[in-house]
Amino acid sequence: MTQTIVTEPDLFRIIGPDGFRVSNGDVDVRLSDDDMVALYEQMVVTRVLDQEFVNLQRQGQLGLYPSCRGQEAAQVGSAFALSPEDWVFPQYRELGVFLGRGVDPLGIGLLWRGTVHGGLGLLERRCAPVCVPIATHSLHAVGMALGAVLDGGRDVSVAYIGDGATSEGDAHEALNLAAVFGAPCIFFVQNNHWAISVPVSEQTRSASIAAKASAYGMAGIRCDGNDVLACYMATRRAVEAARAGGGPTLIEAVTYRIAGHTTSDDPRRYRSDAEVERWRALDPLSRYQAFLRQEALWSEDVEVRCRGRASALAEGLRQGVTGAPEPDPSRIFDAVFRWPTPALREQAAQLAAEMGRETS
């Protein structure tokens, strides 16, 4: 099952696992040299920060962290195809997308530390709060995109979901509603092969996740999720179609979750090291680095610069998280409603009195 990524004929791919442009990959990606390198830099930053988040969790600074290791190409490539006016509705593993939207890593750190809920920067970065109830946010993306149909907006909404999410009822409703309304909505499915411990082969009997698109009456494409240019191009084409009134697209990016589901998971209970090693060999970063070498766009200087920026961000994250002040418990009453109800005012006064007793 997991070997199909190397051989599958209808997998959209620009760079092969060996780093060479594939023979049928005569796609004009229309990216400048700087952009080609920027993609690499963003993947390096994502990889390094992801590891820093894992380290911070291991050191007790974060309660939990879901690593995106192995999925950098899918996340960085797809986010690179979006404009600032587009909207992103993520799940929770999308560090590469968050960074692509310009979300402050410290905000993500405070989220997993247990300082704030949701967060990220809905209005500033057009990036919705992380969404733990699987697939439920895909409906918000469709609602936002339906709004663009109603008000004539040029923006596109992207719902990031996973292979497991495609089994949820809300994903079905979202796909159907998006197609019925012709909404400019992209469903970017990272098929990372595992929904915690259940493999994608036990998630669906469909030939592929992308194949489901035709039943909904929308475009579907299956791309190599470890090929950053394929993920970028698949998303860019979907964005262009959506902006032109062509409605939604379902993109399946075939990739792999190298780490456990979260830092609390023990993946050795359900999958073999050999499988993980096969996918490590398909690592998206080393593949893209090899490609850039072919194109004479990679150098030691580029590597040093990318690593340097990543390290600086990681250091900033570490300092911000470890020095983060504890949240003020009295703030929990602030944003339940626009104005607190009598019951909330009474309970806020109770908490204030309890806190006053503790400090006096």
């Binding site: 809920h117 709060p129 936002m144 626009r338 009598p342």
Partner: protein
């Protein structure tokens, strides 16, 4: 004095709100071409076009999820869930998203969604069409729960709900849809209860469909020599306990009436608050006339399930005789 039904009042409120604010969008199952199965949205699509009022595929979770996405964009969605029990497929969207998006964005976005739901029993409907979902909703932080009992209140409360920047679940008592009642009468507002009938001996607290039951019981009680005050809460969140407590401090007795099953229902919370705030003024325990802790029964037995005048009077008699 001119009269209107609750269906007409709700329809007028939706038309006026749609005309008043171009961000208002009305959508749901059969609300467009058909005008809703109860005709509450009748004529809105014809008048304002399919971008302001449209049909959705059958997808209750989707309807609420769309409303969340539209609200984030600046729309003021007024979706309809066709019947009470059909809110259950949308429960996660209501509880995890509609109710919590404000707090999950640290108060930076408004969720001005008014989710209309024809609710409650007493109309001889088939299974899953007569439920009282208010307890689930009122127990969820972040939702306002508004329930009108008269046409004039339905108009006023729906307009107010649509103008609110918080999500409102607006439960419409189907059994009160078709009675013609006066137009130009004082109305309650969200979080402000109305004394429907002043009295000295017992306070009956109710909302929605059972306010009429309480008033009928009060009429009968007056013939028996008991002077009943009837309070219509208008909303469960916010809950206007000041009005309830002020009344009970005068009467010393309190009966709560609702269709919802008794155990841990709204009556339990009201009874708890009354004894917290008016303990020494009480002359009898707070009593409840409610539906039973059973699934809503088949239509031909609902008359024995719903709290009727007799059940309410039983509580009144018990309170007075205590």
């Amino acid at each position: 004095m001119s009269e209107w039904t609750m269906v007409a009042a709700l329809n007028e409120a939706l038309i006026d709100a749609t005309a008043a604010d171009e961000s208002v969008v009305v959508f749901g199952e059969d609300v467009g071409r058909l005008g809703g199965v109860f005709r509450v949205t009748d004529g809105i699509q014809a008048r304002f076009g399919p971008k302001r009022c449209f049909d959705t595929p059958l997808a209750e979770s989707g309807i609420v999820g769309l409303a969340v996405g539209l609200a984030l964009r600046g729309f003021r969605p007024v979706p309809e869930i066709q019947f009470d029990a059909f809110t259950y497929p949308a429960f996660e969207q209501i509880v995890s998203h509609l109710a919590k998006y404000r707090s999950r964005t640290q108060g930076r976005v408004d969720l001005p969604v008014t989710l209309r739901v024809p609710s409650f029993g007493g109309v001889g409907a088939p299974e899953h069409h007569s439920e009282s979902p208010e307890t689930y909703l009122a127990h969820t932080a972040g939702l306002k729960v508004v329930i009108p009992s008269t046409p004039a209140d339905a108009y006023a409360l729906l307009r107010e709900s649509i103008e609110l920047d918080d999500p409102v679940v607006f439960l419409e008592p189907k059994s009160r849809y078709w009675q013609a009642m006066p137009r130009d009468v004082p109305t309650g507002s969200i979080g402000r209860a109305v004394v429907r009938r002043p009295g000295r001996d017992v306070t009956i607290v109710s909302y929605g469909p059972t306010v009429a039951t309480a008033l009928s019981a009060a009429d009968v009680a007056s013939e028996l020599g008991w002077d009943i005050e009837v309070i219509d809460l208008c909303s469960l969140v916010p809950l206007d306990m000041d009005s309830v407590v002020a009344s009970v401090e005068r009467t010393g007795r309190c009966v709560v009436v609702h269709e919802a099953p008794r155990t841990l229902g709204p009556g339990a919370e009201i009874a708890a608050l009354v004894q917290e705030r008016a303990f020494l003024r009480l002359r009898s325990p707070v009593l409840r006339a409610t539906g039973f802790d059973t699934p809503y029964p088949p239509a031909r037995t609902e008359g024995r399930w719903l709290p009727d005048v007799e059940r309410v009077l039983g509580c009144v008699e018990q309170a007075v005789a205590y």
